[in-house]
């Protein structure tokens, strides 16, 4: 049990939690698994890469650009595809399938343009690391570990104290009832897509600064984020945070006994175990259909 493993767990947990939050914001409002989110994540990273490596823009500007594009992409997806489908009575499954198709298109577009090999965003000469009780942590990793709790706190405060937060919670809780009391659910959905996708952009940029980027990086981290969100409970910030820690711990401390190639398997076995034995999840509402 080394400090390094602990640090790696914290970093991974932060990544899962942040991506999970970005996904959950969309899911609680839109009510379907928007797989294209994986492509939104990857796109953000590659926009930053294009801006910095091809257009030679400064890193800060590249990051801002990337996050903006991610948010815009989310809005475009909602306005251009999902809203139209919903108006025609699409079910959750239909939207899910559409999101899978969209993901294929976007991810392969990235692969076509940039190739499947790894692209580096960070300045390799700038990598500074601090030694901390026997474990090494780089600058960006420190950023990741510090930013995530800040964003979670911000999210918590927004949801609890602001009007927007209350409206979001209302729609997440019962969108029909929210509609009845006069909330514009369509607008809230759009906002959720915007916020969730923007947050995803931030997460993607940080992740790619840490471990570089490939076209499938988005889906890879999204898979873990989905596990986290389902286990932790979509409506519970606390749940997402705890589940992220749990998953990261299982994956990293599990390396002591099982090889790295089994990490995905352990993550999904964990999910399956939860779906099977504890559908109440950690803190959320039961997902078992209330079929009588």
């Amino acid at each position: 049990m080394s400090t390094q493993t602990l640090l790696n767990t914290l970093i991974a947990a932060s990544e899962y939690a942040l991506v999970g939050l970005s996904f959950a914001i969309i899911y609680v409002v839109a009510r379907f698994f928007h797989f294209t989110h994986g492509a939104v994540l990857s796109s953000a990273a590659y926009v930053a890469y294009t801006a910095k490596a091809q257009l030679r823009l400064p890193l800060g500007l590249s990051i801002v650009l990337a996050i903006s594009v991610a948010g815009l992409l989310g809005l475009v997806l909602e306005l251009g595809v999902y809203r139209k489908l919903r108006r025609r009575g699409a079910t959750k499954l239909t939207l899910l399938v559409a999101s899978m198709g969209l993901y294929l298109v976007l991810q392969n577009a990235i692969s076509l343009v940039f190739g499947d090999s790894v692209r580096v965003l960070r300045d390799l000469s700038h990598d500074k690391s601090i030694v901390f009780y026997g474990g090494r942590i780089t600058n960006i990793q420190l950023w990741i570990i510090l930013t995530t709790p800040m964003i979670f706190t911000l999210a918590w405060a927004t949801l609890k104290f602001t009007r927007l937060g209350k409206i979001l919670r209302a729609v997440a809780n019962d969108s029909e009832l929210a509609n009845v009391v006069g909330i514009d659910v369509e607008k809230v959905t759009l906002i959720a897509f915007g916020v969730g996708s923007t947050l995803a952009g931030l997460a993607a940029v940080m992740i790619s600064l840490n471990v570089d980027m490939t076209p499938t990086m988005g889906m890879n981290v999204l898979m873990m984020a989905i596990v986290v969100v389902i286990i932790g409970g979509v409506k519970s910030l606390r749940g997402i945070a705890v589940a992220a820690m749990l998953l990261a711990a299982v994956r990293h401390f599990g390396l002591i006994w099982i090889g790295a190639e089994w990490q995905d398997t352990t993550a999904f076995l964990l999910l399956s175990a939860f779906l099977l034995w504890r559908p109440q999840r950690l803190f959320g509402l039961p997902l078992r259909r209330a079929s009588v």
Partner: protein, 290 residues
């Protein structure tokens, strides 16, 4: 000519996959993302039995079907209790786990190296080598699968599946044990996918994990939806369409890794376009929504 026969054999294999998936998607209203896993289980079972134990093709095929059907219980028993989109996630997990096993359990499957030298199919000792006979075999198996699924769909069992698709709660209120029906359909679907896998393995004589991934599952889903889920000829039309297009690309000269990306883009785009402008697919009845 041999090239055309090759395409037709591929179409036959994908027809088996599409029609077996359609039993769940079109007739029962479920969306599993695990079909490629059972395809792979069938392939690996049949291939390993043939190579390690010299098991003849027909037995290998049956074994592939049985193992796929049996292993499907690992996912169906818990996934079928979940709501529709959580079923997708649960089957997605199974697919990822299955691929991981294919890729990392190297003792059994040789991992990314794949399994080489799988013997061509043999019927009672006579090896089927010529492309004409292989095509005949493939079409026979595809026709058989089609007949089975069509028979199920028009049977009383099938009518209950349709009822589940329309309103599961209502079907339950009429006294039907919907879980048992879904479970049975799922097992049959997985077994047929295993059969397709076995045929594929013995036809191409080399398999590796990359044929049994999440995008492959999505490809079969696309065939079903684009062709027309729940319709009589939809899965066949879907298989023909989605196999022909990348081959068409190849004829135009696009090769290499870029072609693979382009192919997936086309699948994805066709899927989205179909859902947006013609959700009942090419052959489905207007008003039907998967």
């Amino acid at each position: 000519m041999a090239y055309l026969e090759h395409i037709l054999i591929l179409i036959s294999i994908y027809t088996i996959l599409a029609i077996s998936l359609d039993l769940l998607v079109g007739h029962t209203g479920l969306l599993p993302i695990s079909h490629a896993a059972f395809y792979g289980i069938g392939s690996y079972t049949s291939a390993l039995l043939a190579i390690r134990l010299g098991v003849p093709f027909i037995l290998g095929l049956l074994a592939g079907m049985c193992i796929a059907g049996l292993l499907s219980l690992l996912v169906s028993l818990h996934a079928l209790r979940l709501r529709e989109d959580y079923l997708a996630i649960a089957t997605f997990s199974f697919q990822v786990i299955a691929f991981s096993l294919f890729n990392n359990w190297t003792r059994l499957t040789k991992g990314p190296l794949g399994i080489m030298g799988i013997p061509k199919p043999d019927i009672f000792g006579a090896t089927i080598n010529s492309s004409h006979l292989l095509l005949a075999l493939s079409i026979t198996l595809a026709g058989f699968s089609y007949a089975v699924i069509t028979a199920i769909a028009s049977s009383p069992f099938g009518r209950v599946l349709h009822a589940i698709r329309e309103d599961e709660l209502f079907a339950q209120s009429l006294g039907k044990n919907t879980f048992k029906y879904k479970l049975t359909a799922f097992t049959v679907s997985a077994a047929l996918a295993g059969a397709a896998g076995s045929l594929y393995a013995h036809y191409v004589t080399y398999i590796d994990p990359t044929s049994y991934t999440v995008p492959e599952s999505i490809l079969v889903i696309s065939m079903v939806i684009i062709g027309g889920a729940g319709s009589r000829w939809g899965p066949l039309v879907g298989a023909v369409t989605l196999v022909s297009i990348p081959e068409g690309l190849r004829l135009v000269g696009l090769q290499g890794p870029a072609a693979a990306n382009l192919r997936q883009m086309i699948y994805g785009a066709l899927l989205v376009v179909t859902i947006m402008i013609r959700p009942h697919g090419l052959m489905g009845k207007r008003g039907f929504r998967p």
